[in-house]
Amino acid sequence: MWLEILLVGVLLTQGPPPSGPQNATVTLSVNLGSHARLSMSSTGLVFPDADPDLVPFVAAVPAAITVTAKTRTTRNNQVLLTVQPSGDLRSGLLTIPAAMLRWTANGTGLVAGTLVTGSNQVVASWTSSGVRTGTQSFVFENRWTHPPGTYSVTLVYTLSSP
């Protein structure tokens, strides 16, 4: 953000001093650029091993991620927060579909969803500028058919506008 002040004056260098009201023009120009910042309360989610019969949906640790999105954009402009997994959950050659990870959401504009490999899923949408916070609570669908292993995937969050 920068502030520009233009001062425009009129100086009369010739003739007698004016006796009536004097006019001067001052133009203030404020240039506010578009800015955005996205932050998460944690950049790691861990799902511990559990018995599928006892814990069919394993909650993440931490239980919730707080999402903070700060945007300065055109009035009524839509701001979209999406998430896309880098691929399926992978442990060496073994894979588990990323769709086994789903979330519930809390906060204005945030919606629940399920990860889809190769596709951006909407986490939240807002309009206009503002600072928004909300939480996502992830769970892993724990099935007997998952081969044992330690699986990883990167969730790429993107804040965008049309």
Binding site: L38, L101, Y157, T158, S160
Partner: protein, 168 residues
């Protein structure tokens, strides 16, 4: 001349609008790493017992069907190449231990449910009830029958069937 300029402006406006409708402008990104630990787990559940065979005339009912089938649910989270077996064995070679007239080998079963389940005959050694490879949740049923014979000693006799889920 004025008309031409107006046309050019209109065209430019359309182009800009179309571009903004197609593409999203990325404002910020953030990565979160997710790690899932999936450990080995196994469970076998057998329901439907006790298996009862009613007294019957050997000339009229042979074999004797059990009152109800046995349900077997075997769940195992193992490596994709790991073989799994569900076996059953009797704790005695004869229902009537001591008089030894009713052999457990007369106890046969047919199966329903998952294709991994196998028909068979009872023994005191481990006999396969189901076999498959990799992590799975297998559910099936066993419908038992007991061969009937005039040579059986009268009485109420019991054997215990032990089910085991294992890897070779």
């Amino acid at each position: 001349m004025k008309k031409t300029v107006s046309g050019a402006l209109a065209a430019a406006a359309v182009v800009v609008f179309a571009a903004s409708a197609d593409a999203q402008t990325t404002l910020a990104t953030q990565n979160v790493n997710a790690t899932v630990t999936v450990g080995n787990q196994a469970r076998i559940t057998v329901t439907g017992g006790p298996v009862l065979f009613a007294d019957s005339d050997p000339d009229l009912v042979n074999p004797i069907p059990a009152g109800a089938p046995v349900s077997v649910a075997a769940r195992a989270r193992v490596a994709p190449t790991q073989q799994l077996n569900v076996t059953v064995s009797a704790n005695n070679a004869f229902f009537d231990a001591g008089t030894d007239t009713i052999p457990v080998t007369g106890l046969l079963w047919t199966v329903g449910g998952a294709p991994s389940f196998l028909a068979g005959a009872m023994a005191t050694t481990e006999t396969n009830v189901a076999q498959w490879t990799g992590p799975a949740n297998q559910a099936g049923t066993q419908a038992y029958t007991l061969a009937n014979s005039w040579s059986y000693a009268p009485g109420t006799w019991t054997v215990i069937l032990r089910y085991t889920l294992s890897t070779p």
